[in-house]
């Protein structure tokens, strides 16, 4: 249906978009190879892709993918004789389609999976000479690394505190520290973040303090959510980090809406939204990607493919070649990257952001990683996967260790600094927990505020009733909840 809409009013839309939004025709050579956009093809022919070292190192993987179909049928097509001319073409809405007399079904599996972009090898050494082009200086590298270590330590201590019964619930990011920090590092503080629930690193990068994290976990009166959400459901307006909702993948359409508002107000920022492999099965994921492509809005879809959706492994989640191939189906430029390689993530997100903002296009990034921890504190993952598998990923593939090897090889870090930093952070986190535990819980009034902008009469009545009941039976209610 969308395609008929395009042909019917295509010229009107293009004209309207151009005149009302000062929309300029995209002429980037980069985009020609990156994505097949119906509108572009029908507007004007684009120049071919010139060789550009920087783009090639990133774009090579998917430029190559574009020019060869990723199905096994492609080899057959390439061997066929060239079709005879224009009489064999159907001028269908959306673009010209060539006819063929060969009845070939595209295969349900690909012989070769989409390649994965990485910068550092398993030993933390760059396996490309272009690494200096990435412009990651000592300051940035150390900031990324120390934040990753903080995240690791934070996770360990908070997880332990749940086990000790001090907080009710926690979810770690173990194994995904690089995704958390490096992706945030590549963004601007004005870019909106729509998280799932395993991305506190973005907040940490933007300056959320350990105390603020602890306050949310304890649900005390200082936390920004006023004690209304579960632990790890952080949210902070001043950091442009939208409050986490437990529902899976509902944030993906929200992100598209936010990108739409950025486009309407012509802001120079983008939106990023995170989700896991499991989240890509939802209806919201599908529709949001489709919308974003049709609307041409600046949003980065970041998929943390960590192999597991609670106890469902990816081969029971989908049968496509991961998530990256789905971008093509929607007309969204996509890339697969090594999710345990901080530098690759940083680089890819930097480029994706430029693309999203300059070309006003969504971008899909699939980061391959591993959920080394349990799904949450309510889960024991050894029930459905082997301890060996977990230990293997915690070993060489550990993103923190790999980045550490690189910065150590550059002479920017050493074991002394490491142990000092870790023990320091550990102390700070423990201190934050202690302080947060002592702070009062939010008052009863906060149970009824913010349901609406102004509490309506029925809520006021209900609040009065609660107060009366608590006062009458004070001993039956928690003593530390102020009235």
């Amino acid at each position: 249906m969308a395609s008929t809409y395009l042909t019917k009013s295509k010229s009107f839309i293009i004209h309207t978009l151009k005149s009302k939004l000062h929309y300029t025709t995209r002429t980037s050579h980069f985009t020609n190879s990156l994505f097949h956009h119906r509108l572009l093809h029908t507007l004007s022919p684009l120049p071919p892709v010139p060789k550009h070292a920087n783009y090639y190192s990133i774009g090579k993987d998917y430029v190559a993918r574009r020019s060869h179909a990723t199905t096994s049928a492609s080899s057959q097509i390439n061997q066929l004789p060239v079709e005879s001319p224009s009489s064999q073409i159907l001028d269908f809405p959306g673009g010209k389609v060539k006819f063929t007399k060969n009845m070939i079904f595209t295969s349900n599996s690909t012989e070769e999976r989409v390649n994965c972009y990485r910068v550092l090898d398993d030993n933390g050494q760059p396996f490309t000479d272009d690494i200096d082009l990435l412009k990651i200086n000592k300051e940035l590298a150390l900031k990324m690394y120390t934040n990753m270590v903080t995240l690791e330590v934070m996770d360990t201590v908070f997880y332990e505190s749940q086990r000790q019964g001090r907080i009710s619930f926690y979810a770690t990011t173990t194994g995904e520290e690089a995704i958390n920090i490096a992706s945030a590092a590549a963004l601007d503080n004005n870019d909106f973040v729509f998280p799932q629930y395993r991305e506190p690193g973005a907040l940490l990068w933007r300056g959320f303090t350990l105390q603020e994290f602890a306050n949310q976990l304890f649900g005390n009166k200082h936390e920004y959510g006023k004690g209304r959400q579960m632990p790890v459901h952080y949210g902070s307006r001043k950091h442009n980090y939208i409050t986490v909702a437990s529902t899976v993948a509902t944030q993906i359409p929200h992100a598209v809406g936010a990108a739409y508002s950025l486009k309407m107000e012509k802001q120079d920022s983008c939106v990023i939204t995170y989700f896991g492999d499991g989240g890509t099965s939802t209806g919201d994921f599908h529709a949001a990607l489709n919308f974003a492509a049709v609307l041409e809005v600046p949003v980065i879809f970041f998929c943390r493919n960590n192999g597991w959706a609670i106890s469902t492994p990816v081969n029971e989640q989908f049968r496509s070649d991961g998530v990256v191939v789905r971008g093509k189906a929607y007309g969204v430029p996509s890339i697969r990257i090594d999710g345990n390689d901080a530098l690759a993530i940083y680089n890819a997100v930097c480029e994706a952001r430029k693309l999203a903002i300059n070309e006003q296009t969504p971008v899909l990034i699939e980061a391959l990683t591993y959920r080394a921890g349990h799904h949450t504190t309510s889960d024991d993952s050894t029930r459905y996967r082997s301890v060996d598998e977990i230990e293997r990923w915690k070993g060489d593939q550990n993103p923190v260790k790999r980045l550490k090897k690189w910065i150590e090889s550059k002479g920017w870090w050493d074991n002394v600094a490491e142990s000092e930093y870790r023990s320091n952070i550990r102390k700070q986190v423990a201190q934050a927990i202690q302080v947060a535990e002592q702070i009062e819980k939010p008052p009863v009034a906060d149970m009824f505020n913010d349901v609406y902008d102004v509490p309506p009469r029925n809520l006021n009545e209900q609040e009065a009733f609660v107060r009366k009941t608590v006062k009458k039976h004070r001993e039956d209610y928690p003593a530390d909840v102020p009235l």
Binding site: S261, F291, R457
Partner: protein
């Protein structure tokens, strides 16, 4: 029934049964005649220009007490209900550049009931956005856009389709202001036609107000006349809370004279349609017209019913309702929802709880049966409360 004219006190109203969705051509004829009839002689360009002369007579937050005082006091303009909604939309879009519309076929098609006609050419394709078919996703989109500064109006082509958006409406729209600690607000308006139409089939005859009424964090209003349609639309857009505005498929072609100057109604207020002494009849949306038709018969039989259009479905205007109950001591609720779990059920509970001492008789609630709406015209007619039933119920109540 199909061709009956339903009278309201104060103004004659013509009730057209043609479903606007299918009769586009006949609409355009009507529109041009509407423009010409304007009593102040202004032509259409003046009216559509932003910051036109009408802003001089700004009356914001006007609370309606007697909504349809006839054209006798002030000259107004005659308008059909769908056009009143469109007028409200247009005025708010002129006033605030953050207001935008999204939904299926709202742009170039002008909306399936013409509520958004002409807005896409005026404001552009981005601000009046045609979406692909994914209600959950575009409702989610609206929520995300609202959290980051816009004020979207999300249209469900039929309210029933919003069942697909229930997850976003309940879990996010209603909740995120609360769970974020008040950091992110969601000033969306979700609107669309609902209710039982003329043989639209069970899936397109849903009464979603009964499903949504439990969701904390949202407000619900139902419009029934061109006057309150425009006023409630404007109020809903200006509200910082998520508001669901229920329109009715069969009411879009109601005609009424509404004021030229700007007015905004109160979202939480009920409308006194006909003051009376003997019995309080509470109703909303299309049933208002069935009640008023029954009222004529009742008056002829010597009864004096007080008719209130509750308008605000969440929260109920218990102030107006309570004053009425204290006066008449008898309550009849007439609704289109199903018997189980409908607005009438909640209203019955609320009145019983709050005004039990003032009741001389148990509350009577007339609703549709707990069946999916049949397609056959005769069966469909029997599933909706009809004026004779209302008359009989009042007679029983007032014994």
């Amino acid at each position: 029934m199909a061709s009956s004219i339903i009278q309201r006190i104060g103004a004659a109203t013509s009730f057209d049964t043609n479903n606007n969705y299918f009769h586009r051509r006949s609409f355009s004829g009507r529109q041009s005649s509407f423009v010409v009839v304007r009593s102040d002689g202004a032509n259409i360009t003046t009216r559509l220009k932003p910051n036109g002369g009408r802003t001089h007579h700004l009356v914001t937050n006007a609370v309606a007490t007697k909504p349809h005082t006839s054209a006798a006091s002030k000259p107004g303009h005659e308008i059909l209900l769908f056009d009143a909604l469109r007028e409200g939309l247009e005025e708010e879009m002129d006033r605030d550049p953050r207001v935008c519309i999204m939904g299926e076929d709202v742009g170039h098609y002008g909306g399936s009931y013409k509520v958004t006609k002409g807005l896409a050419p005026k404001y552009g394709d981005l601000r009046v956005l045609d979406t692909p078919i994914a209600e959950n996703a575009f409702t989610g989109m609206g929520i995300g856009a609202a959290m980051t500064g816009l004020r979207p109006i999300i249209e469900g082509m039929n309210m029933g389709f919003l069942l697909l958006a229930f997850n976003q409406i309940s879990n996010n729209c209603g909740m995120l202001h609360y769970t974020s600690g008040g950091q992110f607000k969601i000033p969306v308006v979700i609107r669309g036609p609902g209710g039982v139409g003329r043989q639209l089939g069970a899936e397109h005859s849903q009464r979603l107000e009964s499903y949504f009424q439990s969701i904390p964090g949202i407000q619900m209003v139902a419009c029934s006349t061109p006057y309150n349609a425009k006023g409630l639309m404007k109020a809903a857009i200006r509200s910082d809370n998520p508001v669901i505005l229920f329109e009715h498929v069969l009411l879009y072609n109601l005609k009424e004279t509404i004021p030229d100057e700007e007015y905004v109604l109160n979202l939480e207020e009920a409308e006194m349609v006909r003051p009376g002494q003997h019995v309080t009849i509470l109703t909303y949306s299309r049933m208002r017209y069935h009640v008023m038709q029954a009222a004529k018969t009742l008056v002829n039989k010597g009864y004096d019913p007080e008719v209130i259009d509750i308008r605000s479905l969440k929260p109920f205007d218990l102030h107006t309702i309570g004053n009425s109950v204290k006066k008449t001591h008898r309550v009849l609720i007439v609704e289109e929802c199903m018997r189980t779990g409908g607005i009438g059920a909640s209203l019955t509970a609320a009145i019983n709880e709050n005004f039990h001492d003032y009741l001389d008789a148990p509350i009577v609630c007339l609703s549709s049966q707990d069946v999916p709406t049949p397609y056959a015209g005769t069966l469909e007619e029997w599933t909706v409360v009809q004026p004779p039933q209302i008359v009989a119920a009042v007679e029983q109540l007032c014994q």
